[in-house]
Symmetry: C2
Subunit: 226 residues, 2 copies
């Protein structure tokens, strides 16, 4: 398809010939041309503007570094920003699923889960507080024998549940008061909360996470297209 663009010798911002013109010039069918346009629009290389036609876009090849659309563990997020990462497990317990986690994981309220709360430090400063909920049966065995300071997604993958996709919601919040006082996290300003549910390749909802990122330190980038 890009051969067509090359052939037309267009520059970014230029208007493309109409479907009718191209159908004649390329001696092909209208539906072939339309399908070609559709594919080019999907890649972002060509943009259709209502009532004005189709244009060659300069922004189709734009990429941002480490976009938010790429699923990353908190360790990866912090390491990429140049921090030396460590973590503290605040609590790990077998629990009954609360309404929010149950809805996200599509399990019954009260179903057995493992609930894990951790602080992640970057260069010894608290940068992320995360609360994770996993259906109990996905990580079998007594919880006392696992190292909960490590990667939860790696532990899930080891049990055959590779998190491939996450549905995430991002918002700005205060840190829950229950964590502020006991862990000396008060007065650190707003936190960027990413609430997400991780789905394994089979489509199973295997991980509910509420990750509070310190607003003054962590932001996310995303490319937005019309």
């Amino acid at each position: 398809m890009t051969a067509l663009i090359d052939q037309l010798d267009l520059r970014p911002g230029d208007r493309l010939p109409t479907e009718a013109t191209l159908t004649g010039r390329l001696q092909t069918s209208r539906s072939t041309v339309r399908e070609a346009f559709r594919q080019l629009e999907q890649t972002g290389l060509v943009v259709a503007v209502q009532g004005q036609g189709r244009f060659l876009s300069a922004t189709g090849g734009l990429r941002v570094e480490r976009p938010m659309t790429q699923y990353e563990s908190i360790t990866e997020v912090l390491t990429a920003r140049g921090y030396r990462v460590s973590s503290a497990v605040l609590s790990v317990a077998e629990a009954a699923a609360g309404p929010e986690a149950a809805a996200a994981l599509e399990i019954e309220v009260g179903a057995p889960v493992i609930r894990l709360v951790r602080i992640r430090f970057g260069d010894d400063r608290p940068l992320v507080v995360s609360e994770n909920t996993v259906p109990r049966e996905l990580l079998p065995g007594p919880i006392a024998h696992r190292d909960w300071g490590g990667s939860l997604t790696a532990a899930l993958a080891a049990h055959g549940e590779y998190v491939q996709t996450a549905l995430a919601t991002v918002s700005a919040v205060d840190l829950p008061a229950e964590w502020e006082e006991p862990h000396h996290l008060a007065g650190m300003g707003p936190w960027l909360l990413v609430t997400e549910v991780g789905l394994s390749i089979s489509g199973r909802r295997v991980l509910h996470a509420k990750d509070y990122h310190r607003g003054s330190e962590i932001s996310f980038t995303v490319l937005r297209q019309r």
Copy 2:
């Protein structure tokens, strides 16, 4: 390509045959099979897991409603959430580009710009405070004769600069003090700041926006993939 998947009669989560197996079974070349895999991975329908092989994914077709990756005006964002939208222009002025806007727009510091500050209300409650900076020459004519309560992207489009892409950064912040007091916006909790530069089809940087969304009311969703 999906015909291949159908033919193999796989269910989400199933492992795909290896390249070698498929090459033999389909009586085609290894490079053809590899290219087919590459295309399937791009669509998200097939996932390669390091050291384990390729799997049919259940999440390739997942979509979220109104994802953050879709560029929308603030009016569209609020309308989609069911709010009756109105806006107040706090200030509009010809100004000299500051360092942040200049860097984002790739213009000289001090270059002539139009700076516009507005509050957007949803059901008469302040939900978004936005500061927009546009290179002066993109919106010609005396500024007194424009309705600055309307869509800035529509005004730019009318002058041939259709914003097609935005590079956005999302963070959690307090509202700048300069706006809190005079406009009675103090004490509303954390704000979700989207800082973005809008690029037109030709790749020109035409709009710098800092949009402060009230954290208790507005969040964004995004689909994240490995």
